[in-house]
């Protein structure tokens, strides 16, 4: 894999002009997976679809990497009442900007995936929740949904079968926390986006108390590929433990930032140098954040042989997250960067849990002090200590997401932080 990653042909956002138009999508094999299933429901029973997707091991592209088919299998048997699929298009994790590509370039692939998921889980109501700032993408996506209704892929008696599935689009109004799945459910119900305590998981008690599955937009866009080509074919793409195509978002100090589709498992250094055109201004690499702001940073000297898949990144000391990689050059001030990340999490904490509400505030305050040259050595230990008191003690993972960058940035760039504290006005001894 490591050598031939360049020969990969994009599957999620292939280079086909006007693919967002339903006719073009159909001409290129679009909606065939759905048709295949609906035409032969004896072969493609609901359980068979779930098993195929489970076996393919589509890892959740929202960042947690949970096996999509396995999640679907948690849905209880239908009892005649409503059941929901809630599609997560809230992407707000700093460094992440990939789901919008699907809304823009290949919306029907996602719609088809959501329909197959709904068939498999006997769901008849799909909600697509998009962040409010993406209003232009909401409008684009609405056009695609309207076309899918017109052509009979959505609505009553889909393609002449007795299956009826509706899709509604709704959007937020500015709150990162609404990407957390249970917060998104609260927001969909028209409330403040306070995350719920899990368990019960949404499959048991989701939207309006009914069975609900939440999947990321990119996750669902992978589903038609599995039905068309089989779980084995899918499993052979890229890295074994995290297979399939991945939308890599690359930003920061590179010559050609953007979203690029390759198989999972591309070597990190190749992504930076070959895909994103190398570091701006011919400078050296200092560090990366591999998959969104909550994933721990890695120093350049930690990247040898590291590839973009969950196991390799874990071994290196980080995580795959959303595959939104942020690249930092040799002149980057890690104290400034960490303070800005801490500011973000403090701003976005919903305030329900004391360790998160108070802790994110402390992290930001102490880091600001250090950044302003007023820090003391003991502040570094204070930061780590505050982090330890937050982690694992809250309703949702936002608190953990705030702690990880602090812990690992300080540990991996300790010199820089100590240097700043030594220079500070308090450094007497």
């Amino acid at each position: 894999m490591a050598q031939d990653w360049k020969s990969f042909e994009p599957l999620l956002i292939p280079d086909i002009p006007n693919l967002q138009q339903i006719g073009v999508y159909e001409d290129n094999g679009g909606y065939n997976a759905l048709k295949t299933i609906l035409k032969d429901q004896g072969h493609w029973s609901r359980d068979h679809v779930i098993d195929e997707v489970k076996q393919a091991n589509i890892r959740g592209r929202g960042g947690a990497g949970f096996n999509a088919g396995l999640k679907w299998s948690f849905m209880p048997d239908p009892d005649g009442g409503p059941r929901y699929l809630a599609c997560n298009g809230d992407e707000s994790e700093p460094g992440t900007f990939k789901d919008r590509k699907i809304f823009e370039y290949n919306p029907h692939l996602f719609i088809e995936g959501a329909l197959i998921a709904s068939y498999a889980m006997a769901i008849d109501n799909i909600y697509v929740y998009i962040r409010g700032e993406y209003i232009s993408w909401v409008d684009m996506f609405q056009d695609a949904v309207d076309d899918a209704y017109e052509k009979g892929y959505l609505g009553e008696n889909i393609l002449g079968t007795d299956i009826s599935i509706d899709m509604e689009i709704t959007y937020g109004a500015g709150a990162y926390i609404c990407g957390e799945e249970t917060s998104m459910l609260e927001s969909l119900e028209g409330k403040r986006g306070y995350p719920r305590v899990k368990p019960p998981f949404p499959a048991q008690k989701g939207l309006w108390g009914r069975p609900t599955t939440i999947n990321n937009i990119e996750t669902l866009a992978n589903v038609p590929l599995v039905i068309n080509n089989g779980a084995d074919w899918y499993g052979d793409i890229g890295a074994e433990e995290h297979p399939g195509p991945v939308l890599y978002g690359i930003s920061g100090h590179v010559n050609q930032p953007g979203v690029y589709e390759y198989a999972s498992g591309v070597p990190v250094m190749d992504l930076i140098n070959d895909v994103a055109g190398g570091i701006r201004g011919g400078k050296d690499l200092k560090a990366i954040i591999p998959g969104g702001s909550s994933t721990p940073p890695l120093r350049a000297d930690q990247l040898e042989g590291v590839t973009m898949n969950s196991d390799s990144l874990k071994e290196a000391g980080s995580m795959m997250g959303t595959a939104g990689m942020v690249v930092m050059d040799e002149d980057t001030d890690m104290v400034d960067v960490l303070w800005r990340i801490a500011h973000f999490y403090h701003h976005e904490s919903c305030g329900q849990c004391t360790p998160c509400r108070e802790g994110t505030g402390w992290l930001e305050k102490v880091l600001l002090k250090i950044k302003n040259g007023e820090g003391e050595m003991k502040d570094l230990d204070l930061l780590l200590d505050v982090g330890n008191q937050m982690e694992g003690r809250t309703i949702c993972a936002l608190a953990d997401a705030a702690v990880w960058p602090v812990r690992h940035t300080i540990n991996r760039f300790r010199d820089e932080f100590e240097e700043r504290c030594k220079k500070s006005v308090h450094a007497v001894a």
């Binding site: 700093p94 900007f97 709150a175 119900e189 409330k191 986006g193 930003s251 100090h253």
Partner: protein, 158 residues
């Protein structure tokens, strides 16, 4: 403010929104959006109108409006410039862009120019990190890959 109300056309739009969900409450966010597009903000009187229209407690609508940052709780400038200074934008000069705008307009982030034309804000990641630095104009258009010259052009042409 004079007596507030939705027009028949707006009420029809609101009915359509309500039809998407099993409860009226679920329409809260979207109807606040309808109201903000009409009035330019959702000050408490506007929130009350939303509450009355959906037959929901005022406290519920106030709670929702105050939770989400895109709802303007007070009147804004004609154009709101939401400048992203978050991680990737910070790395690519987001703060320089913000300070340039502040200098140019003679206000600080969070303020509105005296002529009521511009409000400037510093915002969190807008999901355009590969096009940093960037800003969003009044909850709408994204302006990417900003330079000082591009900002000058934008402000002159708005």
């Amino acid at each position: 403010m004079a007596e507030l109300s939705f027009t028949d056309e707006e009420l029809k739009e609101i009915d359509k929104i309500k039809a998407k969900f099993p409860t009226a409450k679920a329409a809260t966010l979207q109807v606040l959006w309808v109201a903000q597009r009409k009035y330019g903000h959702v000050e408490p009187e506007v929130q009350n109108l939303v509450a009355e229209t959906l037959d929901l407690p005022k406290s519920h609508v106030h709670g929702v409006a105050s939770f989400y940052t895109q709802y303007y709780k007070e009147e804004q400038g004609k154009f709101v410039l939401d400048v992203c200074t978050c991680l990737s934008c910070q790395l690519c000069g987001g703060y320089e862009i913000l300070h340039h705008i502040e200098d140019k307009l003679g206000i600080e982030a969070g303020e509105t120019t005296e002529d009521g034309m511009f409000t400037v804000k510093e915002v969190e990641c807008l999901g355009a990190c590969g096009y940093a630095p960037m800003l969003q104009v009044t909850n709408g258009e994204y302006v990417n890959n900003l330079t000082k010259e591009k900002v000058d052009d934008l402000i002159e042409n708005l």
